[in-house]
Subunit: 278 residues, 2 copies
């Protein structure tokens, strides 16, 4: 199978699974992103497994981060109160205490890299729950608003596409040559303009939110998605790897596909909490 | 001034400031522990400043962790809702993004060590708010129950004293020779017995909580305080330092004084949330 067909097929399946999980219902949303959190952590811990004498506990740390996502889902949905975080606190203490018993070469790196991935991957994905899930009124079914989750992904994809097309055609001034030599300022502005236009489509579907706020959300997502992309590039450059993994044939790893979302989703959460919810 | 007098004076002032801050009112509690969080972070970042090619941003990271404590106080007291965490989320993103612009030797270590201290110091102290502070009923003054904060410190101090005295007199079997060669199992059991007895004094003052639960809380605190002490010893051993700092003449640094509390307070939080609040 040639690479173009492989890339296209993987892309279609990837988008299909993602949109299916987001739109089917609140539980499919939670299950999908819990699994994605796990895959991202597994990949991240694989990358740093032996970095600077570290010896990471890949399985338990991946499960711990997946539990954080699950706990945030329970909390956001009102299905559980703050008790839901106790196992995660115990997990964090376990990470520290465990090193007492292992005679590891560098316990400080083990602690630090383990926690880095928890915040970078699990913390970031967990915020999606607080964007889209809220306690239900009378039934046990939580309220679920997939619109903002969709917006994050559509904006990130359009930004990537727009930046690539405009950058390929008109790119001259380098955006960040040291870290990501192919990106240009022209591409950045092209991506931004396309996302700003798309945001007005969302405003048309969701008129309960001000058109200006859709523009604001678009700016926040494009800005932080770009930083997120660059941050993962810096991570890979420091580690000396080209792709974060190979789970998505032709597209690299999970972190390669979600690097922008890892920063765009906390940015979207902050924007929505600050400007819309209050 | 000879060392014994210096140690005694420092000890008296230390205990006085701590008890004064805990008992004066809820705001002195919050201010005191916000400052202690800052001192702990400052010391921690000082220790890891140049570790393995790291270049940490000591001031901003210390302020970020102090803000986490403050945000948790506002949330626990009901004076603010989850909006209070937005600046902290922005701070975490800043930590990542900042490395794009610094040409640092090892951005991964900078991220990881910065976040390690946030969880180890700021996360741990921040939980004290959720132990002792709750929303007030009608006035703006939060409810404040200093009893459990006092219990954590009294149990930790009595455990240290008991373990030292019993260990000095009867210590034979090493508790953890590789990491902390002076500790013995006899000392550990001695400390535990003294804290179990003291817990019944607390039960006498606070009969609304079951005697058995005071025993359970005592066991949890002694166990995790010991692990906390060993964890900080492992940290110092890995770094090759004897004391974490010298802010407390004759007693070393802030982390040396609070190492046990850093683990005892999350353990106490988990115990109280699980067994008492529900």
């Amino acid at each position: 199978m040639n690479n173009f067909i492989k890339r296209t097929l993987t892309g279609i399946i990837f988008v299909g699974v993602l949109l299916g999980g987001i739109f089917y219902n609140v539980y499919s949303f939670a299950a999908l992103f819990c699994i994605i959190t796990g895959l991202a952590l597994w990949e991240f811990y694989g990358l740093l497994k032996h970095y600077e004498n570290a010896t990471l506990h890949r399985i338990i740390s991946t499960l711990g981060g997946m539990y954080l996502f699950f706990a945030c889902f329970l909390k956001a949905s009102g299905l559980a109160d703050s008790l839901t975080f106790l196992p995660y606190i115990l997990f964090l203490m376990y990470i520290f205490i465990h090193e007492l018993y292992t005679k590891a070469a560098n316990p400080i790196n083990n602690w630090a890299f383990t926690l880095l991935a928890q915040i970078y991957c699990a913390g970031s994905f967990s915020l999606l729950n607080f964007i889209a899930v809220h306690p239900g009124n009378s039934t046990n079914m939580p309220l679920y608003t997939p619109l903002f989750i969709l917006a994050i992904f559509v904006f990130v994809w359009l930004n990537d596409t727009g930046a690539f097309l405009v950058g390929s055609a008109f790119g001259k001034r380098k955006l960040f040559e040291r870290i990501s030599p192919k990106k240009s300022w022209e591409g950045f502005w092209g991506g931004l303009v396309i996302v700003l236009i798309a945001s007005q489509g969302f405003a048309w579907y969701a008129p309960e939110i001000n058109r200006l706020h859709w523009l604001g959300l678009a700016v926040a997502i494009v800005l932080f998605a770009t930083w997120g992309d660059l941050t993962e590039s810096l991570l890979k450059r420091t580690l000396g790897v080209k792709d974060s993994g190979n789970i998505l044939p032709g597209h690299g790893g999970i972190l390669d596909r979600f690097d922008s979302v890892l920063m765009a989703s906390p940015a979207a959460y902050c924007y929505l909490e600050f400007f819309i919810r209050n």
